[in-house]
Amino acid sequence: MLNPAIEIQILAVLVAVSCTLSGVFLVLRKMAMMSDAISHSILAGIAIAFLYVGDINSPLLIIGAALTGVVTVFLVELLKQTHLVSEEASIGLVFTFLFSVGVIIISRYAGNVHLDIDAVLLGEIAFTPFNRLIIANIDFGPKAIYIITAILSLNITYIYLFYKELKLVTFDPTLATMLGFSPVIIHYSLMGVVSITAVGAFEAVGFILVVALMVVPPLTAYLITDNLSNMIFISCFIGVLIGIVGYQMAYVFDVSIAGSMATVAGIIFLVVFLVSCWKKSSFGRQQRNNNIN
C-alpha cells in the first residue's frame, strides 16, 4: 500500500485539478463569486440530508449537497428577476441564509454526531487516508481518492463533450440562442457540475478553499493567455503546482494543508500579476518609443 503522505499528495493534486477545471468557465462567465455562494450553501444541503438520513456516510448527503448548489443559483436568479435586488446583493443574501440554516441545524440536531462545524469549515485532507475502501478484506486505498477521481472524470467528460457549447454560450450567448443552443440548460448543467465538484472537494479542503482552487488558477491563466484551450491547460498546470507545492510546504512547516494550498495559489497569482504588469508597462514603453522613432 501507498504511504499516507503520498496518498494525501495525490488527493491534493486531484482536488486542485478538478476544482480548477470547473472553475474556468465560472470565471469566464463572470460568476467567480458564485463559487463562494455555492460552496457555502452546500452546508445547508448536507445538514438537511443528514437530518433526513441520519447517517453521515450516506451518498444521499452528496446528492443533497449538490442539489443545494443548483437551488442556490436558482434562488439568486429568482431574486434578481424581481429587479428589486442587484445580482451581487442577491448572491450575498441567498448563500448567507442557506449557510445559517446549515449551521443552525448542525448545532441543534447534530451536536453528538461527528459533524463538527470546524471540520466542515476547514476540511482536513490529512484525515482522509483513515477512511479506506475495504472490499473483502483487501485495502483499496482511501475512499476519497475514488470519489475525487470520479468527480475529475465527470469534469473532464463534461468539458470534452460540451466544449463547443460552453465556449459559444460563454462568449456569445445571443448567437448561441439563435443557433438553438439553450444558454439556460448549459448554465444549469455547469452549475450542477460546479456543485458536485465543490461537494467532493470540500470534504478535503473545506469550502472556502474550494473557492481558492476554483477561482485563482483560472484567473492566473487568464492573465497569461487569451486562448480558451490554452487557458484550460495552463490553469490545470497551475492547479497541479498548487497541489504539490502547497502540500509540501504544509508538510515542511507543519501547518494547515488547505490553507497552505490557498496561500501558494495566492503567491503564484501575485507573481504572475506582477510579471504581467511589468510586461504590460515595458511593452507600452516599447510601443511609445517605436512611435517616437
Binding site: V103, L209, V211, A212
Partner: protein, 369 residues
C-alpha cells in the same frame, strides 16, 4: 413581564442586546452606501480577509484582548481592499474575480497562521475561534464600549461627509468634474465599511458578517427612494434584526446567535420585497391588475360612446361578448370596476353613458381620434 425583567437583568443578555443594536445600526447605515454603489459582496471579502490580521495580532502580542486583535483585523482588511483595487485597475480581471481571489487567499493565509497559533504552548486559542462564527456570549462590557465608540465615530464621519458620500454613490463623475478628491472620499467610505465589519466580527463572525451589510439596506431600499430615509431605516432594520435574533437565540437552547440574526435579516428582506408600498411585489401585481382594468374600461366606454353617437342601443352583454379573450371572472371584475367608476348606467338591456362618463371622455380627449 416578570420573565422579561429577569431577561433584562441578565448581564450577558444585556451586553449581547446592546452589542447587536450598535452593530445593526452601524452596519446598516454604512451598508446603505455599499449596496447603492453595488459593492455588496465587498463586505464578504473584507470580513474573510480580517482572519490573518486577527491571528497575526495574536501571534505578535500573544494576548487575546479584543481590541488588539481587531487592530490587526483592521490592518489586514484595509490591505485586502487596497490589493483588490490594484488588481482591478492593473489587469483585465473583473471586480468579482478580484473579490473571490482576495477572499479565499486571505482566508487561506489566516488558516495557515491559525494552525501555527494552535501549536503555541499554553496559548488559549478560544479567543480566536470565536471570530470564525462569532460568539455573542463572549461579549464583555469593555467590548460594548469599544463598539459604541467606533459606532459613534462612524456616525460622525457619515454626517460630516454626507454630501460627498451622496455624490460618490450617485454621480461620481460629476464630483470629479467639480475637482473634488473623490478618490479620498472613496477611501474614507471603504475604511468605514471595514470598521463597521470589524465591530461585528466578535458577534456574527467573519463568515456571516457580510449579510449585516447587505440585508438591512436592501430591505430599506424597498420602502423609500430617499437616501436619508433609507439610511435611517436601514439602521433601524439592522438593530431590529439584531435584537430579534439575539432574543430568539437566548430563549431557544443551542441556537447560535450569528446565524439567527442572519435569518431574521433574511426574513425582513423577504417581507419588504413582498409588501413594500410602491416597489413591492404585491403592490406591483395589484397595480398591474388595475391598469388592465382601466384600459379595458376606457375601451368599453369608447364603444358605448360610439353607439351613443349613432343612437344605437347596446347592452352590456353585447359589449362583454366582444371581449372574447377575457375569462368570466375577469369580466365580472371589469363590470364591478365600471360600476364603481360610475361612467355607465347599466340596466339589463341597455347601457347609457352617465354625465361622469361623458366628462371622462371629453376631459381626457383620448378617444377623440
Amino acid at each position: 413581564m416578570l420573565w422579561g425583567s429577569y431577561m433584562l437583568n441578565d448581564y450577558t443578555l444585556q451586553m449581547v442586546l446592546l452589542g447587536s443594536i450598535i452593530l445593526g445600526i452601524t452596519s446598516g447605515m454604512v451598508g446603505t452606501f455599499a449596496v447603492l454603489r453595488k459593492q455588496s459582496l465587498m463586505g464578504d471579502a473584507i470580513s474573510h480577509s480580517a482572519l490573518p490580521g486577527l491571528v497575526i495580532a495574536f501571534l505578535l502580542t500573544s494576548q487575546s484582548a479584543s481590541y488588539i486583535l481587531l487592530i490587526g483585523a483592521f490592518a489586514a482588511s484595509l490591505l485586502s481592499t487596497f490589493i483588490m483595487m490594484l488588481i482591478v485597475k492593473y489587469s483585465n480581471i473583473t471586480y468579482d474575480g478580484a473579490l473571490a481571489i482576495i477572499l479565499s487567499v486571505f482566508f487561506g493565509m489566516g488558516m495557515v497562521l491559525l494552525s501555527v497559533a494552535q501549536k503555541l504552548p499554553g496559548a488559549s486559542q478560544a479567543g480566536l475561534n470565536k471570530f470564525l462564527f462569532g460568539r455573542a456570549a463572549s461579549i464583555l462590557y469593555a467590548d460594548v464600549i469599544m463598539m459604541l465608540g467606533l459606532g459613534i465615530l462612524v456616525l460622525f464621519i457619515i454626517i460630516l461627509f454626507w454630501k460627498e458620500f451622496k455624490l460618490l454613490c450617485f454621480n461620481n463623475d460629476f464630483g470629479e468634474s467639480l475637482g473634488l478628491p473623490m478618490m479620498f472620499f472613496d477611501i474614507i467610505l471603504t475604511s468605514l465599511l471595514v470598521i463597521s465589519i470589524i465591530i461585528g466580527l466578535q458577534m456574527v463572525g467573519v463568515i456571516l458578517m457580510s449579510v449585516m451589510i447587505i440585508a438591512p439596506p436592501v430591505a430599506a431600499r424597498q420602502w423609500t427612494n430617499k437616501l436619508n430615509k433609507m439610511i435611517l431605516l436601514a439602521g433601524f432594520i439592522g438593530a431590529l434584526a439584531g435584537v430579534g435574533g439575539s432574543f430568539i437565540s437566548s430563549i431557544v437552547p443551542r441556537m447560535p446567535t450569528g446565524p439567527t440574526i442572519v435569518i431574521m435579516n433574511f426574513i425582513i428582506v423577504l417581507i419588504s420585497l413582498v409588501l413594500a408600498f410602491e416597489r413591492g411585489l404585491l403592490s406591483r401585481i395589484i397595480r398591474r391588475k388595475q391598469k388592465i382594468n382601466s384600459i379595458l374600461a376606457k375601451q368599453i366606454l369608447f364603444d358605448c360612446y360610439k353607439s351613443f353617437k349613432k343612437e344605437e342601443i347596446i347592452s352590456i352583454k353585447q359589449i362583454m361578448d366582444n371581449l372574447i379573450l377575457l375569462s368570466a371572472k375577469k369580466k365580472k371584475q371589469l363590470r364591478y370596476y365600471l360600476l364603481k367608476k360610475g361612467w355607465l348606467l347599466i340596466t339589463n338591456d341597455k347601457t347609457e353613458i352617465t354625465k361622469k362618463g361623458l366628462e371622462e371622455i371629453l376631459e381626457r380627449g383620448v378617444l377623440c381620434a
